[in-house]
């Protein structure tokens, strides 16, 4: 059984303050603080790119647990903003930078905010089918590469970050996490809500909100019913960190206790597929937390939910 045993992250040090920029975008401090929930967004440095963010996350991982690059069987990078112009694939860049072995599989997954859960599902299935022992799922989607700094709907939302998750054989009593109960959904007919057709991200905020507020609760309810879970059974609901407003909306619509819905937006922003593992990283070794729900949603439109239980 393949499960999750460690998560590490890299959030670049540079920040842009939303309080400093609010006036220029016709927003007040109350809106920034209580609706966006994003006080500042993280920004990669001028010499950083998608693969280097992954390499930094790997270095952070090795501060928690030594992982020899030569032992890695699988590298997946979830991104829609690849290294350079995308050829070779970003996971190949990471593989090369970390000097991994030739018999290591490496490929990218082109998803955004739903990507971590799809990535866990793909990695787990691939590893179990191929009897692999050490997999690394990276998320790194630096949207700063495609943001229009005059666009009020996007410029104050998105931050840069990378995470890496170790997937490996796990056993009961190990304290590792077993993902289960996956649900994957797509609505390509409404994909125009979030696009990059000109080199810049364009988002129809209202359409994305309407989708998030309706499709996501429905998927979570279905997923919980299928696993015979109630809200009381779940210790934490780890939602994609789109904005504080969407988190509050989901909390209200699902009638969740607010203390079960963590938020880490304030000093980094919406980090796309990194937002859920950034949250999960903080819960991973908290012994009081034994069952979490993970739900990611956004560009595609694509959304996915799964659960993870502590073994």
């Amino acid at each position: 059984m393949i499960g999750i045993s460690e998560i590490a992250s890299y959030v670049p040090r540079a920040r842009l303050s939303n309080f400093d920029r609010a006036d220029a975008f016709g927003m007040d401090e109350d809106f920034v603080r209580n609706k966006l929930g994003i006080h500042s967004v993280s920004r990669k440095g001028p010499n950083e790119d998608t693969a280097s963010l992954c390499v930094e996350a790997f270095r952070t991982l090795n501060l928690k647990r030594t992982v020899s690059p030569g032992d890695v069987d699988l590298v997946i990078v979830c991104t829609q903003n690849p290294e350079g112009h995308g050829i070779p694939h970003t996971s190949a860049h990471v593989h090369g930078a970390l000097e991994m072995a030739d018999n290591c599989a490496a490929f990218d997954i082109g998803l955004g905010c739903s990507g971590y859960i799809y990535g866990i599902g793909v990695a787990k299935s691939f590893m179990e089918a191929q009897n692999l022992k050490m997999g690394l799922l990276f998320t790194a989607d630096p949207y700063s590469k495609i943001l229009d700094d005059t666009d009020r709907t996007t410029e104050m939302l998105f931050g840069d970050a990378a995470t890496v998750t170790i997937l490996e054989p796990v056993s009961p009593g190990s304290g590792a996490w077993q993902p289960f109960g996956f649900r994957f959904s797509t609505r390509g007919s409404e994909g125009a809500a979030l696009t990059n057709e000109t080199g810049y991200l364009r988002m129809n905020g209202r359409a994305v909100f309407n989708f998030s507020a309706t499709a996501v609760p429905e998927q979570i309810r279905q997923a919980m019913k299928a696993e015979s879970l109630t809200v009381d059974d779940v210790d934490r609901f780890l939602f994609h960190q789109g904005s504080k407003y969407i988190l509050d909306t989901l909390t209200r619509r699902l009638a969740l206790p607010p203390n079960k819905v963590p938020c880490n937006l304030s000093n980094q922003g919406n980090t796309v597929s990194s937002s859920i593992p950034l949250l999960f990283e903080n819960q991973l070794h908290d012994a009081s937390i034994c069952l979490v729900a993970l739900s990611g949603f956004g560009v595609g439109l694509s959304w996915a939910t799964c659960f993870a239980r502590r073994l």
Binding site: F31, K35, G205, R206, F209, A213, S243, Y245, T249
Partner: protein, 79 residues
């Protein structure tokens, strides 16, 4: 329940802490004066769609920035 009462109920459900006092003319005041922002508006019109069965186009939503305008629109739509 009147359309206006339904709309006010939806707004107060979506926008925590907002007060709409008809006797103070709040139904004619722009949302920005009532502390209702663009994200709240998205939430309000989603609930109007779900609870009242009326889907309002984005460009129309931008025009309906008071309770009275929403009520007038809904009343003409459902006639």
């Amino acid at each position: 329940m009147s359309t206006q009462a339904k709309v006010i109920s939806i707004i107060m459900d979506v926008v925590i802490g907002v007060e709409i006092d008809e006797s103070h003319g709040d139904t004619a005041r722009p949302f920005t004066e009532l502390g209702i922002d663009s994200l709240d508006v998205a939430g309000i019109f989603l609930e109007i769609k779900e609870k009242l069965g009326v889907s309002v186009a984005d460009d129309k939503i931008d025009e309906l920035d008071t309770v009275e305008k929403i009520v007038a629109y809904l009343d003409t739509t459902t006639d």
